[in-house]
């Protein structure tokens, strides 16, 4: 591990680091299925910085949207007006997502487990929930059909759990060749990007292990904030801090 700066020295927030790290997963030409919130911010940051030709698809049917400000909703006119094509919702799910035309899907999660399975449905029992969450949305089929999935969420033992209360969207199931056995076409979640670091999917076991910690974060902090016994990669590193260019692009966008 390289020497990390102290928290005090940092000129950016952990959330900004998380967004920047997510944006870096995209390269130019990547076709990316995005929702509102961090995924939209990250994808637009990529488009505004290192990946100008990233193709953004919003599940509202906007293909190739090029917003110059962050839309408050996926129904915003800035998406339909700047898109190369606008199609119906049945079409976006059938002809575009299910057909395997999307390289990267971003998913958030209320709960995630070590195999990248996701719960956005309930905390507690389904029939008598402690917290009723919004539900599935587009996530189950994003998780099924995108070539790869990137999960973004804030690190906490409540969110990164040993066992999900409900499996809304399938990552790698109980690990190994689970996806192949189910015949799921996409490769599933490959990275989990949090405000503390980046977890990556181990090739054989498909378990998520700590791959890098963000500058200023210590490995024990990450382990403590994880609800399962987090394993640390042998070659764990420190995430490259946001560049001035990234920060500038991000802030001009968020401020816009």
């Amino acid at each position: 591990m390289t020497e990390s700066p102290t928290r005090e020295a940092l000129k950016w927030t952990n959330d900004e680091m998380m967004t920047v790290a997510a944006a870096r997963e995209l390269t130019s030409g990547t076709v990316c299925f995005v929702g509102i919130g961090l995924p939209s911010t990250a994808a637009n940051l990529a488009r505004a910085s290192h990946a100008p030709d990233v193709v953004l698809i919003y599940e509202s049917g906007c293909i190739g949207a090029k917003p110059d400000r962050l839309p408050p909703s996926i129904g915003d006119g800035i998406l339909s007006r700047t898109a190369d094509a606008v199609v119906s919702v049945p079409e976006i799910f059938a002809y575009w997502l299910q057909a395997g035309r999307v390289d990267v899907g971003f998913l958030g999660a209320a709960q995630v487990d070590r195999f990248g399975n996701i719960n956005t449905t309930v905390v507690g029992e389904y029939g008598s929930p402690q917290v009723r969450l919004p539900g599935a949305g587009g996530a189950p089929e994003i998780a099924t059909s995108c070539s790869r999935v990137i999960i973004t969420l804030r690190h906490s033992p409540r969110a990164m759990v040993e066992k999900l209360d409900f499996v809304t969207s399938v990552g790698h199931g109980d690990g190994g060749d689970f996806r192949a056995r189910l015949g799921l076409p996409g490769r599933g979640p490959q990275a989990m990007i949090t405000d503390l670091g980046v977890l990556r999917c181990e090739p054989e076991s498909r378990e998520f292990v700590l791959s890098s910690v963000h500058p200023g974060v210590e490995i024990p902090d990450v382990i403590e904030a994880t609800g399962w016994a987090l394993r640390v990669a042998d070659d764990v590193s420190v995430t490259a801090p946001p560049t001035d260019g990234e920060l500038h692009a991000l802030r001009s966008f968020v401020g816009a």
């Binding site: 509102i36 919130g37 599940e59 509202s60 049917g61 906007c62 408050p72 909703s73 996926i74 129904g75 915003d76 006119g77 998406l79 339909s80 007006r81 094509a85 606008v86 199609v87 119906s88 919702v89 049945p90 799910f93 059938a94 997502l97 299910q98 449905t121 389904y126 008598s128 929930p129 402690q130 917290v131 009723r132 919004p134 539900g135 599935a136 949305g137 587009g138 996530a139 189950p140 089929e141 099924t144 059909s145 409900f166 499996v167 809304t168 969207s169 399938v170 199931g173 689970f178 189910l182 015949g183 799921l184 076409p185």
Partner: protein
């Protein structure tokens, strides 16, 4: 041929207690005015259908209009929870709410099947999820050519489909553009349909990806300017984002919610009066 009618009359005629009603609008052209008119007319025991139930469904649920909700994502996008929905599911307030939940792809497929006159639709989805175990309307079919197992979902065929569109012409043909979501399918899958429009025009202008519904598949067309407020109607109105963020504390407190509904919905006679009852700041800058 479609009939031009007031929203009051359209709701009174077509939406009855116990009906299955889909007020569709995927993050754009959301038929808020129709939902509030349903509340004014005190409909009960409705099965409400929508991919993305939002504030208007929160209001319908909180006011006790709904017996059941069929949906795929229930939230206040970017602003928080639907607390009336949550209160109904978590604490049976005001009463028990039955739920039937799918993914977006599943709901879209169900509407398509309904619009196509097929008993079911299929998709590659749900495999490995708990949705497949808790939702009885998820089943499976096997491809007779490849042996692949695919998810099957039954057609949606609401009694009434309600949507917003930007325009009708004088013959009652309807046109919408921008993000048109699953609205065409919602109308075509339904037994009866009501379309709220921003404007009645002599002739439509061209819009790429514009969707026209011929008059003869629509029952009632209602001229309701800003009928999708606080949502968008592209080229007519912007989203009133402040309304969405202000909804969070209203929805969270049941007493506050009921007082708000009394003041702004039950005490107003139509959508124009509803808009006039709002803090004028909530109506600024919504012109598109």
């Amino acid at each position: 041929m479609a009939r031009f009618s007031s929203l009051h009359d359209a709701v009174a005629e077509h939406i009855h207690d116990g009906d299955t009603v889909a007020l569709e609008g995927f993050t754009h052209l959301i038929p808020f005015a129709a939902g509030q008119e349903i509340i004014r007319q005190r409909r009960k025991d409705l099965t409400l259908v929508r991919m993305t139930p939002d504030i208007i469904y929160d209001q319908l649920i909180g006011m006790g209009c709904a017996r059941k909700l069929i949906f795929s994502w229930a939230g206040n996008p970017g602003a928080g929870s639907l607390h009336r929905f949550r209160d109904a599911v978590e604490h049976s307030v005001p009463h028990h709410l039955e739920i039937e939940e799918h993914s977006h792809a599943g709901m879209a497929t169900r509407y398509q099947a309904g619009a196509s006159g097929l008993p079911f639709g299929m998709l590659r989805g749900y495999a490995g999820t708990d949705l497949a175990t808790i939702t009885p309307t998820i089943s499976w079919v096997t491809c007779p050519f490849t042996g692949e197992n695919l998810a099957a979902v039954p057609a949606l065929r609401p009694d009434v489909g309600v949507i917003c569109a930007q325009q009708a012409d004088r013959d009652g043909n309807v046109m919408m553009w921008g993000i048109t979501g699953v609205q065409k399918e919602a109308v075509l899958a339904s037994q009866r349909s009501i379309v709220l429009v921003e404007e009645v025009v002599d002739a439509f202008s061209p819009h790429t990806n514009g969707v026209v519904l011929p008059s003869w598949v629509v029952d009632d067309v209602c001229l309701v300017p800003s009928g999708s407020y606080p949502s968008y109607a592209q080229d007519y109105s912007q989203r009133a984002s402040a309304f969405y963020s202000q909804w969070e504390p209203i929805s969270k407190d049941c007493e506050k919610f009921l007082a708000w509904m009394d003041e702004h919905v039950l005490a107003t006679s139509d959508h124009a009066e509803f808009l006039a009852s709002l803090d004028p700041a909530l109506l600024e800058d919504i012109n598109d």
